[in-house]
C-alpha cells in the first residue's frame, strides 16, 4: 500500500513527459498560427455582402463550435480515409484542432470588431477615409485591444485541447503518461505529473490574460472595483466634519473613487 507516495514521487515522472510537452507546445503553436488568421478571415466573411459566402462561413463556424473537438478528431482520423484522404496522426490532430481554433476565434474577432463604437466609423466617414484605411487605422487597433485577452485564454484552451490527440496515438503528454503508467503501474503519480505540467503553463497564462484585460479595458465603473467607503459613510463623515453635504458633490467624489 503506497497511499500517498504520489504526493511527492510525481516529480520522478516529469522527465518521462517532457518529450510529450514539446509535442503539445508544437501542436498548440501550429494550430494558433494557422487557426487564428483563418478565424479572422472567417470573421470578415461572416459579414460579407454575398449571401452564399456569408452562409458558408456561418455554417463552418457553427460546425466547428458545435461539434466536440474529440468527434472532429475522430472524423478526420477515422472518417476521412473513407474519402481516400489518409492522414497520419499528427496532421489529423492539426487539421481537427485548426477547425476548432478557427471557428472559436471567428466569434471572438467578430464580437471585437462589433465592440468598436459606431462613432469611430462615422468619424472615419467624415474624414473621408477609404474602407481599407478605416479598417487598418481605426477599427483594427481598437478591435485588437479588445480581442487580445480572450485570444490569450483561447490559446490556453487550445493547449488543453491538445491532450485529446493522445486518443489517436499522437505522442503528447497524455500519451507519454499512459505509456509510463502502463509500464510501472503508478497511474496517480504519472497523471499528477501531467496535471502539474499543464497547470504550470495554463495558470500563469490565465493570470497574464486577466491582467491584460484589466489593463486594456480602461476605467469602467464596476461593482468589483467599487470604492471602499460607500456614499452613506461619505455623507456621514461629511456631516460630522460640519461641511454642507451637497449631494452632487458627494456623488462626484464617489465616482472619482471608483475610477481610480
Amino acid at each position: 500500500m503506497n497511499g500517498f507516495s504520489w504526493l511527492w514521487d510525481w516529480v520522478v515522472y516529469l522527465p518521462d513527459l517532457l518529450p510529450g510537452l514539446w509535442m503539445a507546445l508544437f501542436l498548440t503553436a501550429v494550430t494558433c498560427v494557422i487557426g487564428y488568421p483563418l478565424g479572422f478571415a472567417l470573421a470578415l466573411l461572416t459579414e460579407a455582402r454575398n449571401p452564399v459566402v456569408r452562409w458558408i462561413a456561418v455554417v463552418y463556424v457553427e460546425i466547428g463550435r458545435g461539434i466536440p473537438a474529440l468527434v472532429l478528431l475522430y472524423l478526420v482520423y477515422r472518417g476521412l480515409p473513407q474519402l481516400g484522404v489518409l492522414l497520419d496522426a499528427v496532421p489529423s490532430a492539426l487539421v481537427a484542432f485548426i477547425i476548432t481554433a478557427s471557428a472559436y476565434s471567428t466569434e471572438m474577432f467578430r464580437s471585437s470588431i462589433a465592440a468598436v463604437p459606431r462613432g469611430q466609423f462615422q468619424a472615419s466617414d467624415a474624414l473621408a477615409l477609404s474602407r481599407l484605411d478605416t479598417f487598418r487605422f481605426v477599427v483594427l487597433p481598437q478591435a485588437g485591444r479588445i480581442a487580445l485577452p480572450p485570444l490569450v485564454n483561447q490559446t490556453i484552451t487550445i493547449f488543453h485541447i491538445t491532450s485529446l490527440a493522445s486518443v489517436i496515438t499522437v505522442a503528447e503528454v497524455m500519451h507519454d503518461a499512459y505509456m509510463s503508467g502502463a509500464f510501472n503501474w503508478q497511474y496517480m503519480s504519472v497523471y499528477t505529473a501531467a496535471a502539474v505540467l499543464y497547470a504550470a503553463i495554463a495558470i500563469p497564462g490565465a493570470l497574464f490574460a486577466g491582467r491584460l484585460e484589466k489593463k486594456l479595458s480602461g476605467g469602467t465603473r464596476k461593482w468589483s472595483n467599487r470604492p471602499r467607503r460607500t456614499l452613506m459613510s461619505r455623507l456621514a463623515s461629511a456631516r460630522s466634519a460640519g461641511t454642507n453635504p451637497n449631494p452632487t458633490q458627494q456623488v462626484n467624489l464617489s465616482s472619482n473613487g471608483a475610477n481610480s
Binding site: G66, L75, L83, T192, K222
Partner: protein, 214 residues
C-alpha cells in the same frame, strides 16, 4: 447500417444524463462556492482561488484519467460512469462559480451605492437587487457553458462510458463507416445544443423584460 445509427441514437440518453447531472450540480453548487471568493478572510479567498485555478488550469481529460486510472493507485476503483460524473460535476462547479463571480462584478457600482443610500441590509441587497441582475447578466454565459459541458461529456468515451462518441467509435470498428458514424454523432451534438440556445434566449428576454434596470 440503420441498426448502427440506431445504436448511436440510443446512446444519447447517457450523453444527456452526463450533461444534465453535471450541469445541475454546477449551477446549484457554483453559487455558494462563488461566495467564498467574496469572503472577508484572505485564507478562504485563497482556498477558492486555488480550487478554481487548479480545476481549470488542468485539461478535463487529465482530471478524468486521474479519477479513473489514477485513483486505482490509492486502492479506490470507480466505474467509468461514476468517474465521468464526478469529474464533470467538479469542473462544472468551478466553471459556474467563475461565471457567477464575473456576473457579480459586471453589476454597476451605482446599484451598490443606491442600495446603501436606501439603507438596505445585506440580505435584501443580495435577494432583491444583486441576484435578479446577476441571473440576468449570466444567463447567456450559462447557456454557452452548458453547451460546452455537453461537448465535454464526449470525453467520457475515452474511459469507456457508452455515450454517443463511444458508440460511434464502436460501430466504426465494427462496420468501418467512420465518416458516416462520426458525422452522425456530430449532428447529434449540434441538435442537442439547439434547445439550450433557445432556452437561454427565452430566459434572457423574459428576465430583461422583468428587470430592465440597466
Amino acid at each position: 447500417m440503420a441498426g448502427a445509427l440506431l445504436a448511436i441514437l440510443e446512446a444519447v440518453g447517457l450523453t444527456v444524463l452526463l450533461t444534465v447531472v453535471a450541469g445541475v450540480i454546477g449551477v446549484v453548487l457554483g453559487a455558494p462556492v462563488m461566495l467564498l471568493s467574496r469572503s472577508k478572510s484572505a485564507a478562504v479567498r485563497a482556498v477558492y482561488w486555488t480550487f478554481v485555478h487548479m480545476v481549470r488550469g488542468v485539461p478535463s481529460l487529465v482530471w478524468l484519467f486521474i479519477a479513473f486510472f489514477g485513483i486505482t493507485q490509492i486502492g479506490i476503483t470507480l466505474s467509468p460512469m461514476a468517474s465521468a460524473l464526478i469529474t464533470l460535476s467538479v469542473i462544472a462547479i468551478a466553471s459556474m462559480a467563475e461565471i457567477y463571480r464575473g456576473g457579480l462584478s459586471a453589476i454597476a457600482v451605482g446599484q451598490w451605492e443606491a442600495s446603501s443610500a436606501l439603507g438596505l441590509g445585506r440580505w435584501p441587497l443580495f435577494k432583491d437587487v444583486l441576484y435578479p441582475q446577476l441571473f440576468r447578466a449570466v444567463s447567456p454565459t450559462v447557456a454557452t457553458y452548458l453547451v460546452g459541458l455537453l461537448k465535454e461529456s464526449a470525453l467520457a468515451s475515452t474511459i469507456g462510458v457508452a455515450e454517443v462518441t463511444f458508440v460511434a467509435g464502436q460501430q466504426t470498428q465494427f462496420y468501418g463507416n467512420g465518416l458516416l458514424f462520426f458525422a452522425f454523432a456530430g449532428l447529434i451534438y449540434l441538435v442537442l445544443s439547439l434547445p439550450l440556445g433557445v432556452l437561454s434566449r427565452t430566459i434572457h428576454s423574459r428576465l430583461t423584460r422583468r428587470y430592465a434596470v440597466l
